[in-house]
């Protein structure tokens, strides 16, 4: 790998990185991938790698390009620029093109796209045409057992519940042992109650198999629970890739900070070495020059409050969330802040409170 990088000014940084991931080159790699629909740049120069056995979530609001990215990986769309590498081979871009049927990538669609004219076994067997006939039935039984559908081989899709259909879709995609599995909003068609259980179950199956997965979701909680790493997309661009903790604690952009978890944004003016806000003067790392206005992110857990008759904040709303209480607080300027506190805090609407900010967790954009 390093041989190709000779002359690259960032060679040292690259060598460090390649040392860290030397054991396994990525299963899938995107390099500057772009896709345009008419005037809309749906995917704009996206780069990321997914290592073997890793689960990566593409997270973003609807229309951010996450599904298009998935379709580019699957081969349903051709990129206008950039390259896609699958297991060390370019499959799209740079003059190469491998159609979806030769990529060995499994796909679970949002609507499952089960073949209505085939039984559960027929659907599962669909991708096994390269296997000797005798092994097919064995493989079908094996996969259906794995996803917990043993005994339902002869049912047809319309005779199954949503959760069962989802598992058939998973079984069908996994049966040919794909190098990579793509999931497009795989849980959005399920009831809220069911979703939590199915999610954990599916994750367990995929982890046991060591499958490499890219999955698309607009649900931050789902991305955090299901994925090892999360790639946040917005308006066709990749904003940040990282573990859930990294995204939450070290958001790279205001969009990520806003999209991932709750957050209060307070305007502040940059002074020498600190930022002056309505919540006081704090040391916040930033790249703005003195005199500029920036937004400081205060997570609800980083704003501690306590009853104080002359406190600067007023409780405007109180919502009981079970394990904690969410308070909506009004600043003297009228701006609102959210703070999460243990239930025993016991503040009432209209009370005045004092506050304390955990300065080391503040971020500015």
């Amino acid at each position: 790998m390093t041989a190709l990088l000779v002359g690259d000014p960032t060679i040292e940084a690259m060598e460090e990185r390649s040392a860290a991931t030397e054991a396994a080159s990525p299963v899938i790699a995107l390099r500057g991938v772009s896709k345009r629909y008419g005037d809309l740049l749906a995917v704009n120069s996206v780069d990321f790698d997914v290592a073997g056995g890793e689960i990566l979530a593409l997270l973003g609001p609807s229309g951010c390009g996450k599904t298009t990215t998935l379709r580019l990986i699957a081969g349903f769309e051709e990129p206008d620029a950039g390259e896609i590498w699958l297991q060390d081979e370019a499959v799209a871009g740079g003059g190469s093109w491998r159609p979806p049927e030769r990529r060995e990538i499994g796909v679970v669609f949002q609507d499952f796209a089960l073949f209505p004219h085939l039984s559960v076994a027929g659907n599962t067997r669909f991708g096994l045409q390269n296997l000797p006939r005798r092994q097919r039935s064995q493989r079908v039984a094996e996969v259906l057992e794995m996803v917990g559908l043993g005994g339902l081989e002869d049912r047809y899709p319309h005779q199954l519940s949503g959760g069962q259909q989802q598992r058939v879709a998973l079984a069908r995609a996994l049966a040919p042992q794909p190098a990579l599995l793509l999931l497009d909003e795989p849980f959005s068609n399920l009831d809220a109650e069911m979703r939590v259980d199915v999610r954990l179950e599916v994750r367990q199956i995929l982890k046991d198999l060591g499958t490499t997965v890219v999955f698309v979701t607009h649900d931050q909680e789902e991305a955090f629970v299901f994925a090892d790493r999360v790639a946040v997309m917005n308006a066709g661009r990749l904003e940040q890739v990282g573990t859930p903790e990294e995204l939450y604690n070290e958001p790279a952009t205001r969009f990520v900070a806003d999209f991932v978890g709750h957050g209060n944004f307070i305007p502040g003016i940059v002074l020498d070495g600190a930022v002056e806000t309505e919540l006081g003067r704090h040391i916040v790392p930033n790249s703005a020059s003195p005199g500029q206005t920036i937004n400081v992110l205060v997570r609800p857990h980083d704003l501690a409050i306590s009853r104080r008759a002359d406190g600067p904040l007023t409780v405007v709303e109180r919502r009981f969330l079970g394990s904690e209480v969410e308070y909506v607080l009004a600043l003297p300027s009228g701006a609102r802040l959210i703070s999460h506190q243990p239930p025993e805090t016991g503040l009432m609407v209209g009370e005045r409170v004092g506050f304390e900010v955990r300065e080391e967790n503040l971020r500015a954009f």
Binding site: M1, A3, L4, L5, D8, T10, M14, S25, P26, A29, R31, G32, S34, R36, Y37, L41, N44, S45, D47, D49, A74, G75, F76, E77, D80, A81, G82, E83, W85, D88, E89, A90, P99, P100, E101, R102, R103, E104, I105, G106, V107, F109, Q110, D111, A113, F115, P116, H117, F126, G127, Q129, N130, R172, A173, P176, R237
Partner: protein
């Protein structure tokens, strides 16, 4: 090979669009070039007769134009329009009334009426016209019966003239109202009952709800049905000829076959096609809204309206309509057939196995209709595939072009093909294949629409799933899409088959000498007034038509599709 490192320089640079002419026409994805080529060729082929009619008409001599404008056009225009309006009005009342009674009320026997009310579609209107000539016409059964009853001579009876606007309206309405009935009942079935409940909750009574909520929402569906009726009236030839009522179709046929005036025939055709296009434009307008309307879909079967003391009057009305449109015509055909069987000379004429027997006519009808239906489905596959999967202004335009036959009444298709073949492909003229070609051109839109509707219901994900599981595009289409759209393809086939089977004017004009189909023979026998000879043929034709019609009705009850 090694994966290149991400390059910081590339980030944020919007790539230029790669140059290629096809994506511009075919939207988001590039269609396979072979499919495009096939579709363009087929669409062009289907549209040739339409453009040729215009070409002939507009290059017609100005003298003939002047003569026709002074002499024929105003009268024809008025009489054709009058007939279209009268038939439309009658079919709306009958069609919507039956649909509402059968779908939304507790009418006794509605489980059977649901089917029966659509069955008059299997009786070609010219067969109906001949039945009612025998009943209501001069020296018909009614006159005979009245004169026996009153003792007056038949010609002195104060009977209304049957060969008139009224009589023609009756004959056409009784056998075309199912278009409105089917559209309206499909719309009523998918009608969201919550709307009626909301109206009731606002204090409206049943009748008031029907006028102020149900009817306005049904209007697009009714409009679609009425326009089909109007299109039929414009294209009808058999009924108006038997009824001696002058419309464009009849005048064109006359000009061409009796007066041998090709120029006048072309000019009249051009005007008729223009009228049809105006009507079609109206249809596409109302169709767009009908489609929107059907998506509201009821998720809960509506509660049937209790008719109370109107139950039996309503039942009587439904039975009367069905008697006039179904029981009496079929009964009379059966009666004549049996009567003919007892007459040995008639029986040998009809049933002997020769070139002029019922078997030959039936075989000719069946194979030409089946061939046209099969061709239509084959043509529809690439065109519909392109229109659905690669939706773009160009593919939509292509689909519209391929459906040019909608604007071509049978007489005009016949005429256009005669001119085209005589001038350019003479060796083909006079072969039975030309008849098949005429059916294909004229009825292709039905196959196109069924196939398009079916394809629209197949999620593209289904094909993509097959590809991700290792199927090449054409295998994915064959293994996944085709099984899924098979009911739609069969519906398209059945529709083209049904309408081809009943087709009369184009067949009359284009058939090779001695090549008679059932409709042709029925028409010849009944214009000569030999009902006992026409009846067995008509009965067989009705039976043959009932089979695909029954299949279509069964299908339309499963899905939201409506046969048109």
């Amino acid at each position: 090979m090694a994966i290149p490192a991400p390059s910081a320089a590339e980030v944020g640079v919007a790539p230029a669009r790669r140059w290629s002419p096809l994506p511009v026409f075919f939207g988001r994805r590039r269609a396979p070039v072979l499919v495009i080529a096939i579709a363009v060729a087929l669409a062009a082929f289907m549209a040739v007769p339409l453009f040729y009619v215009f070409y002939r008409g507009l290059t017609g001599s100005s003298e003939v134009w002047d003569r026709l404008i002074d002499d024929r056009l105003p009268d024809l225009f008025v009489s054709t329009l009058k007939l279209a309006i009268c038939v439309s009005l009658v079919t709306v009342v009958v069609g919507v009334g039956l649909a509402w009674l059968i779908v939304r009320t507790d009418l006794p026997g509605r489980g059977v009426f649901v089917w029966l009310a659509a069955m008059p579609l299997s009786v070609p209107p010219y067969v109906g016209a001949l039945v009612y000539i025998a009943i209501l016409g001069p020296n018909g059964y009614v006159e005979e019966w009245l004169s026996a009853l009153t003792g007056t001579r038949e010609r002195d009876l104060p009977m209304p003239e049957y060969y008139s606007l009224g009589g023609t309206t009756l004959a056409l309405s009784l056998f075309t109202y199912p278009y409105v009935y089917l559209m309206a009942s499909a719309a009523l079935r998918s009608f969201n009952p919550t709307l009626e409940e909301a109206s009731a909750a606002s204090g409206r009574r049943m009748l008031s709800t029907f006028w102020s909520v149900v009817l306005p929402l049904l209007r697009p569906a009714i409009g679609a049905g009425v326009l089909l009726v109007a299109l039929y009236v414009l294209s009808d030839f058999g009924t108006v000829s038997l009824m001696r009522y002058d419309t464009f179709s009849r005048a064109i046929y006359d000009q061409f076959t009796s007066r041998f005036d090709r120029s006048a025939a072309s000019i009249l055709s051009t005007v008729l096609v223009l009228i049809t296009i105006v009507v079609l434009w109206g249809q596409s307008f109302s169709e767009g809204r009908a489609r929107y309307y059907q998506t509201i879909g009821g998720w809960r079967p509506p509660r049937p309206v209790k008719l109370g003391r109107w139950r039996y009057p309503a039942l009587a009305a439904v039975v009367t309509v069905l008697s006039l449109a179904l029981f009496i015509p079929i009964g009379l055909l059966v009666y004549w057939t049996v009567e003919g069987l007892t007459d040995s000379s008639v029986a040998s004429d009809v049933w002997s196995y020769s070139d002029d027997s019922i078997y030959t006519y039936a075989w000719n009808s069946l194979w030409t209709a089946a061939a046209a239906a099969t061709l239509a489905v084959l043509v529809a596959l690439p065109l519909a595939f392109l229109a659905v999967r690669f939706d773009s202004p160009f593919s939509r335009w292509l689909a519209r072009l391929s459906q040019a036959g909608y604007a071509l009444p049978g007489v005009v298709v016949g005429l256009s093909l005669i001119f085209l073949l005589n001038n350019y492909v003479e060796w083909l003229y006079g072969s039975a294949f030309v008849v098949v070609l005429a059916y294909l051109l004229r009825f292709y839109p039905q196959a196109h629409q069924s196939t398009t509707a079916a394809l629209t219901q197949v999620s593209p994900n289904m094909e993509e799933a097959a590809r991700s599981l290792g199927r090449r595009p054409e295998r994915a289409f064959l293994e996944v899409t085709v099984p899924f759209i098979r009911p739609g393809l069969m519906a398209g086939w059945a529709l083209v088959f049904l309408t081809s089977l009943k087709e009369l004017p184009a067949t009359l004009l284009l058939r090779p000498a001695g090549f008679d189909t059932l409709p042709v023979r029925i028409w010849i026998n009944s214009s000569e007034g030999i009902f006992t000879l026409a009846a067995p043929l008509a009965l067989l034709l009705v039976l043959c038509s009932a089979v695909p019609l029954y299949f279509l009705l069964r299908q339309s009850r499963v899905g939201p599709t409506v046969i048109t």
